[in-house]
Symmetry: C2
């Protein structure tokens, strides 16, 4: 099935206790798309400025990412700069957010894109996610990622969006913030009551929980001794989930219900892609992978939780 991805495309500066790196490819849609591209060729909806390096466009093309929906406008590309702290880089401080061309981003989908069957609404303003989703004619499966900023600043728009979402991806602290429940199991069930049929709560080093109205799947975390750069882990997770589902969804939807075992596998593939992403800065590790590496790590996840 076809996969549409919308989100930010940007240039990042990332500082860790070990190293500082400049002019990195960043943005939610970049991580989502490159991650998803190992499963299906995604359609990217985003915006960059004229300063956006040709090299990154070439890399996207090498990944078979459809760039018809990527606007290139006069001006500067979205820029984010952040610093991570602690041995496991668990704390983050944003230094700079320059929206630049992203500030006035109101995408109109190319006509082919309107037929997309799986839609991944990457982590951007919920109003923008809704605007994109509204242009897709009959989406089969809608996945949305979000973050604390949208919970605190645009809650009504986020709540409205959740009514149109099949699968919500959210991290542990954001799930607690959005539901006001400290118990994660209660939080997951409360999120289901807000609209999505499926919810994934991402717990970093503790793995992820997939909720539906009947059951819970506990996905382990890949045992990582060293994290180089956590940026984009959640986006790569989303891309892995969406890409795998899109690649299998012709057999995954039975009537109106999705095949739950495929959904579980999708969460594991999301975890695989996130675990690779944090092993290098930016998309460097993802760009070095082949499908054999991904399959091998998927099997490691299987062995990790088998009993």
């Amino acid at each position: 099935m076809s996969l549409l991805i919308v989100g930010s495309v940007g240039i990042d500066t990332v500082k860790t206790p070990v190293e500082e790196r400049f002019h990195l490819l960043g943005g939610a849609a970049s991580y989502c798309s490159v991650s998803a591209s190992f499963f299906v060729p995604p359609r990217l909806v985003g915006i960059v400025g004229e300063d956006f390096p040709q090299k990154h466009l070439d890399d996207f093309k090498k990944c078979q990412i459809d760039l018809e929906g990527l606007q290139i406008l006069p001006g500067k590309t979205f820029h984010w700069s952040g610093e991570y702290f602690g041995e496991d880089l668990g704390a983050r401080e944003t230094r700079v957010t320059e929206l630049n061309v992203f500030e006035n981003f109101i995408p109109t989908l190319p006509s082919l894109y309107r037929q997309s069957q799986v839609v991944l609404l990457g982590n951007i303003a919920p109003q923008l996610q809704q605007h994109v989703l509204g242009q897709v004619e009959r989406p089969h499966f809608v996945i949305a990622d979000t973050m604390n900023y949208w919970i605190s600043s645009t809650l009504p728009a986020l709540q409205q969006l959740l009514k149109s979402v099949d699968l919500l991806l959210i991290n542990e602290s954001e799930a607690r913030e959005l539901t006001k429940e400290s118990n994660l199991i209660k939080a997951g069930r409360t999120l289901l009551s807000m609209g999505p049929r499926y919810v994934v709560i991402k717990k970093g080093e503790h793995g992820a929980l997939l909720f539906d109205h009947e059951e819970i799947f506990s996905c382990p975390a890949f045992p990582l001794e060293k994290i180089v750069d956590p940026t984009g882990a959640g986006d790569a997770f989303a891309g892995g989930v969406a890409g795998y589902l899109a690649s299998r969804l012709n057999i995954a939807i039975k009537g109106d219900e999705i095949d739950k075992s495929l959904l579980r596998e999708a969460v594991v593939y999301g975890s695989v892609m996130a675990s690779f992403t944090v092993e290098s800065f930016s998309l460097e590790k993802l760009h070095s992978l082949n499908t054999g590496d991904i399959e091998k790590r998927f099997q490691t996840f299987r062995r990790l939780s088998a009993f």
Copy 2:
């Protein structure tokens, strides 16, 4: 195989935001033994005062716990009182610890006990754990639990003990404290280098990790919406692990190596017993269980992490 358990037996007062309960059966060995008793009849090594209620002795006997090693001395029984805070009772404050007869506890094992094949050294002073272990003639498998108090107050004795232990059980924050590693994967591997052939790091609502020198097993947590009383969860976990291993260990040891799939199952049974324990005060839930309940929850764990 036979199972020896040593630890405290006490009377607890437990306060939660919802309720305060007095005169509860408590102590590491109580939880360990009752939990293990669903798998094998354990031998209990401990001490109580003459005030220890006959009802609790009768309950131990009903569980087929061998009490030959339980000394009853003039004086008062060990008493602990604590309070839990927060919705998930994640924070604990100890109000009272009265050692009473436990203060001068230097157990001499009954002769039959010296032949025990599996030994569970419950959470007491490492010197005392060592003293008991030294009296067992040829233990096949030694399991030790510990806590932050012993790491900070009697570290050399704990380090000495670890050299004689096959399986160490320790919680997340204690693992970090003992190894000075914030990354849990590094912490687990560092613990292995301190002596034990196997290490379990207990992560509460995030499950548990089993380490050996070759691989890691990630055991999920049972999804609990409500925790009534967290007291004894770690001890019940230890009892479930030790009891299951003792019940299967004639087939689990191949040469000098333990069957790893049985060890994984033991960690799941430990998690099953811990998950039941926190659903009521003291040992009330465990006393209400039958083996069918335990098997059913074990199967729920299987479904929880299957993909």
